[in-house]
Amino acid sequence: MEAIAFYIFAILITGLFLVTAYSRNILYAMSSLAAGMVLISGLFFILGADFLGAVQLVVYSGAIMALYAFGMMFFDATRDVKEKNSSKYLVFLLSGFSAVMLVVIFAAPTIGSHIEPIVTASKGLDNPHAIGAVLFTKYLIPFEVAAVMLLVAMIAGIVLASKKMDESLSEIYLDADPETEKKEQK
């Protein structure tokens, strides 16, 4: 049962992310990315990392994709993206090599026999409780630092995006694309 679910999720996620990486339309790329994020949370639920799956759903497919959707209002999303690519084989070679390196890096510690978990979950706690217990004891300072980082990012986003938003947005959008200007005048 687990195997069936894993393979379905794996194939769907890979296909959707391939669409994201190779589609020419920004809208298709973003939709498939959002669907892939939702399916990755399914992968976390299979693993038993319930809290991580919920966070993935809320933060990634909720907040980040909503942010992208808002950001796309500023760009011309319906037009196909034209990209010229020079060396295809180099791309595949480099990415495949890095993937092998990733497997080696992550799998190397698990091969060793004398490996022991440092932060274990207490007995009798389910996953979200155990995560909370560890997060607010051992990882409290990184948690606070992450909170400050999110605050800084929020302020930076507000300052960057809202600078002279009222006057310059429409003008520059029309300057960039004269055809839409004509259409809107009609």
């Binding site: 890979t14 992310f17 992968l43 942010l67 990209e83 990415s95 979950a121 995560i131 300057d175």
Partner: protein
């Protein structure tokens, strides 16, 4: 056939290589951001699988902090993208290379 750690690691590697191929071949900045999200998600899968396999919660903590970093990266990055689009009218990387050496 049971699903072990290897399956998740291989899936993570496949997803990471998809994301990296996207980063290397994309010329549009917004699409580049999408590809980095794919790579972050791939490492999250690897972290969660290792964490569950070892019975150690540190991996899931790292995945949580990666998600937090990704959220702030998107917030700042989209602000910068909007500024770039306002200034140059395009997100294409080839048109943005204004430093001629």
């Amino acid at each position: 056939m049971t699903i072990g750690l290897t399956h998740y690691l291989v899936l993570s590697a496949i997803l990471f290589s998809v994301g990296l191929a996207g980063v290397l071949r994309r010329k549009n900045l917004l699409m580049l951001f999408f590809a980095t999200e794919i790579m972050l998600n791939a490492t999250n899968v690897a972290f969660a699988a290792i964490s569950v396999h070892l019975g150690d919660l540190s991996g899931q903590m790292f995945a949580l902090f990666i998600i937090a970093v990704a959220a702030s990266e998107v917030a700042v990055g989209l602000g910068l993208l909007i500024l770039i689009y306002k200034k140059y009218g395009t997100l294409d990387l080839d048109n943005l290379s204004i430093m001629k050496g």
